[in-house]
Every structure is written in structure tokens, then in C-alpha cells.
Point group: C2
Chain length 321, copies 2
């Protein structure tokens, strides 16, 4: 197991800077007053391809030597990593093969194809995803870039906190959603080195709380096919992300589906930004645990903004077209 | 008729700075490539109370002497001016009376009440609005702050272009939606003085095209109750805004309801920002007149982000709750 370090993050940052945005950190007096804290939202929903995942994907793609790159890249993903890898591969001019659950939001599939990604569909379970993926990789010889259990990807995601610390005057707590743990691991990588006093809290849907249970149990617990509206958070921890979670995360808290939907809608209504369900989880958790967060300076990583606008979770009878 | 001048704008800016945001100017490589132009979006959807109207409202409220202010302020409004005046009055600690059409989005009504505004409902026509308003004002003695036909309000809106010019390296064209013409008049006020080479284009819904017809006819044409999804643009020009439109606007272009909806949805999907239908009109017009705008540097005023999230225009059967 290769554990990426701070130097890897710095190299990643130099490598990917031409291909990503330094996304803004924004504040909301509404939420500050509501919670009695100072919140700093790192807006990766404004990132290239609409999510932080372009950081790790770009680091992997642009770090390949020409021979390897010639076969292209491949991945399985619940969405944003697929978009991001397609975007990065497109920038380098190499093919990108993507295995996606057939149930993934159609807006995400269309966007992957929009960036030139080649999709093969699988069933919405980890087992099926890995099976179909092996077939695709065998046929193409493409370089596998795992959505999160990959040192290149974690080093890339770690650049987000590096930017954040330069954009703010420091925080007491950093909170980010956790699915496979790529963003949380990157956050751990950077903060444990340059701001170890910052508490790192991971935010997870109750209905996909394998990371919270793993954290309590002291070993990885993986569910095969959890159901949650937070589409990007259904995947389990793997050994590399578990390493960071186990060693550096302060706590993992959970929120219900309704709490996630309410926090998402409230963010749209008051901050006027499009955030996807996954990144409403941290805010949902802060809202339901106000006492724990009141008076603190809190960094929140808004991980992405890729939403199917025809299928909004608070509109149960919304149409598809 | 008191016509506000550049000095009034400068005074307004000093007066309102503590109460408003200097909103960001953002860009979108997606739209730049789609149109073959350079677009600069002045994001007044991130403004206090969710819209540019807080500029004019704050200038009016904070410019009152204490005696006048003691009776409070009052207005009729299709929504954002009501929010903004309530916000500004709340900051000064004086009452704000608001006459609103009963058909205004309930999200806007709730927000007005959220800022402490006191609502009296009228029918959705200019005639009814003015009638009910006269009753309210007679009863309270509150200072009338017209949503746009008021020199204090226009001087306030004019601060938006002042900020914009400092935030960018200049543009060839500035485009803004037109309803009553407050923002367009403010834009004319500032640009005609410090950047007279910039073309000012006003953007209007086809179904509420009274400003476009006025512009062609050479005199104000007012419709009583036009129907358009662009809720903020239903009101007619008045003599003060007509003065600026007639003297400084280069052209008024229109877009259909479907073009407005498509531009709005595309902005949500690609830029991850919530914009209301009114401010999708400029982008709709640019998209349908690409030849006219290609190769240009274009400033677009995103006027507001107050949308009823339960009633999205592309979801025809969306539920209300």
C-alpha cells in the first residue's frame, strides 16, 4: 500500500493547476446566524466538471507517462469521478472508459458522454461494478484510476484543503462528506501536516453509514448496495482511505435522508448555489448538532453541484423528460 | 422630475456600502465556448435579500431624515423590491409596508415576512396594485419608495455598474433585463458618464415587451397585466426610467418563454448558480442572437436568485407543499 504524503500533494498541485479552478470560499450570514458559528464553504461545485473529483482525476491522468497514457484510463464511479476522469482524459487527448451503475442520474451519464467518456453500464452494487469493470479493463488495457482508493487520487483531493487554508484565516473544524473517503483522506493528508489542530469531521448519510460503523468498530465494514439520495456516498471505505480515516478523523456523524434534503433545499434557497445531495450532508449534521458547532469556525467542503434538475428530491412527483 | 446624476450614484454607494455585498463577477468557460464571446456575470443573485434591488432600497431608506423614517416606508412590488425594502428597513429599525400581487411566488411572500415586511395583497394588475397601495399609504403615512421610478432607487441601482467596471477590464456590451427599467436606468446613469462607448442592451420577455414597443414607438406603452414567467419584468416603464432608456439604451431585444426557461435551466446546470427567470432573459437573448454577440466582451447583470423551489418552470407537474 502506497500512502501519499505531503510532498505528493504539493507535486499534484503543481501538476493540476492548469486544469482546475482555485474555487472560491464563500460565507452566508444567514447560516452563520442560524447556527451561531462562522461557516466557510469551499465551493467545489464551481470546480471544472462540477466537482472536487477533477483534482484527483487530473493528477492521475497528467502523471502518466506517454506509453501508459496511450491505452487510456478507466474507472468505475457513481458519477463525479467519471465526469472528472473524462474531463481530464479529454484535456490530455486520451480515451476514458467508464463503468457506471445503470441507476446513476441521467444528467451525470449525459455529462460523462459530453466530456467524451465511453460508458459501460453495471448493476447498482459494488459487486457488479467490479465484475463489469474487470471485463472492460481486460479488453482495453486502460490504466485503472480508482475513484478514491488510489494514492494519486488522494494526493489530488488533498490540494483542496491546501487552497482552503490559504484562502481563510484558519478554522477549528473541517467537515466533509464521506463515501469512499477520498476527499476526507485528502483533507487528513494536508491538515495533519500543516494544521493538525483542526478537527476533521466526516459527514455520512444514516442510510449509508458504513464509514461511521467502521470508525466505531475499528475495521472496515462495507455494505454492498446502500440506498441514499446522496448518490456519491454509497461506496465503502477501502484500505488506503481507511488508513487516513482511522488515523486522523475526529468523528463521523450521520444525517437522515429528510435532514439531507432539507439542508440541500435550504442551501439552494438562501445561498443561491446548486449543491448536490452529498454535500448537503455536512450542513445537515451541523444543523442537527448546533450545540457542538456553535461558536466555532467551520470549513465545509461543498463537494459538487451535479444534480439532475428534472429529479429534485423535494419534488416527489416531478416529471422526467 | 428629478433625474439622478453621477454624483447621486457616488453618494448612494458610500451610503449603502455597509448594507450590501460587492457581489462577485464570475465567468463560465462553457458559455464562452458556446457563444464564442467573453461573458462576465455580475452576480446580484448573491446580493443581500437575493437581488440587486437592495441597492436602491437601501439608498432610499438610509437617505431619509429621522422624522420621515419614523413613519416607515411603503411600496408595491412584484417581489424583490419588497424583500429589499423590508431588509433595508429592518436594518434601520423602521416598519416596511408592502403591497404585493396575491399571485406572487409564495417563496417571495414568505421571505418578505421573514425580513419583517408587512404585506397587503392586491390583484395582479398595475391598476389594482396602485389602488390598494394608496389605501395603505393613507393609513400609515409611510414614505413611498417606488420600485424603480424614484431617483434614490435609480442612483442605488447605478452602483452595480460602478462596481462591475472596477471588477473587470471593460466590456463592449452590457446587457440587463428590463421590466420597469430601474436596473437599466442605473446602468445608463453610470456607463453614460464613465464608459459611454459600452453598448447598453435591455432584455425583455416577448410576452411583456412593452419596453421594446415603447423604444420603437418613441413613447411609453404600458400593458396592464402581461403574463410571463419572468415575474420581475411585468411592470411598465415610467417617466424617469423612460428618460434613461430613451437617451442611452442601444437596443431592446426579446426572448420567448421557452427560450427563457431553457437559458435558466442551462445556467443552473452548467454554472451551478440559482438565477430567477428574469435574469435568464439576457442569456436567452445572447443565445438566440449569437452572431450579434460573438467575439464581444459582454457584461450580464444577473439580477436575482429568488425562486420558488417548489415551482420550477421546467417541471410542469411539480407539486407544491
Amino acid at each position: 500500500m502506497i500512502i501519499p504524503d505531503f510532498q505528493d500533494m504539493l507535486q499534484a498541485h503543481e501538476r493540476i493547476k492548469p486544469h482546475i479552478h482555485c474555487t472560491p470560499v464563500i460565507t452566508s450570514s444567514y447560516f452563520n446566524e442560524l447556527i451561531g458559528a462562522k461557516l466557510f464553504f469551499k465551493c467545489e461545485n464551481f470546480q471544472k466538471a462540477g466537482a472536487f473529483k477533477v483534482r484527483g482525476a487530473s493528477n492521475a491522468v497528467f502523471g502518466l507517462d506517454d506509453t501508459l497514457a496511450g491505452h487510456g484510463v478507466a474507472t468505475h464511479s457513481s458519477g463525479n469521478h467519471a465526469l472528472s476522469l473524462s474531463y481530464a482524459a479529454g484535456r490530455r487527448g486520451i480515451p476514458c472508459h467508464v463503468v457506471m451503475p445503470r441507476t446513476a442520474p441521467k444528467a451525470k451519464k449525459a455529462a460523462v458522454r459530453g466530456y467524451g467518456g465511453i460508458i459501460t453500464e453495471c448493476e447498482p452494487s459494488t459487486t457488479s461494478r467490479e465484475e463489469v469493470f474487470a471485463q472492460v479493463q481486460g479488453k482495453t488495457g486502460a490504466e485503472f484510476v480508482h475513484p478514491y482508493n488510489d494514492p494519486r487520487v488522494i494526493a489530488g483531493q488533498a490540494t483542496c484543503s491546501q487552497e482552503f487554508l490559504k484562502q481563510t484565516d484558519g478554522v477549528d473544524i473541517m467537515i466533509a462528506p464521506i463515501g469512499g473517503g477520498g476527499m476526507v483522506s485528502g483533507t487528513c493528508l494536508t491538515l495533519s501536516r500543516i494544521a493538525p489542530e483542526i478537527q476533521i469531521i466526516a459527514a455520512e448519510p444514516e442510510q449509508a453509514d458504513d464509514a461511521a460503523r467502521s470508525f466505531k468498530a475499528g475495521n472496515i465494514i462495507a455494505d454492498d448496495a446502500p440506498q441514499t439520495i446522496a448518490d456519491g456516498l454509497k461506496v465503502p471505505l477501502k484500505e488506503l482511505t481507511w488508513h487516513f480515516v482511522r488515523n486522523h478523523v475526529t468523528d463521523i456523524l450521520t444525517a437522515s435522508e429528510q435532514e439531507i434534503i432539507d439542508a440541500m433545499k435550504l442551501t439552494w434557497a438562501r445561498m443561491k448555489i446548486i449543491i448536490e445531495p452529498s454535500c448537503a450532508v455536512p450542513l445537515a449534521i451541523i444543523l442537527k448538532n448546533k450545540d457542538r458547532f456553535a461558536g466555532k469556525r467551520i470549513g465545509i467542503i461543498i463537494t459538487g453541484g451535479n444534480v439532475d434538475l428534472d429529479e429534485l428530491p423535494w419534488l416527489k412527483s416531478s416529471t422526467t423528460n
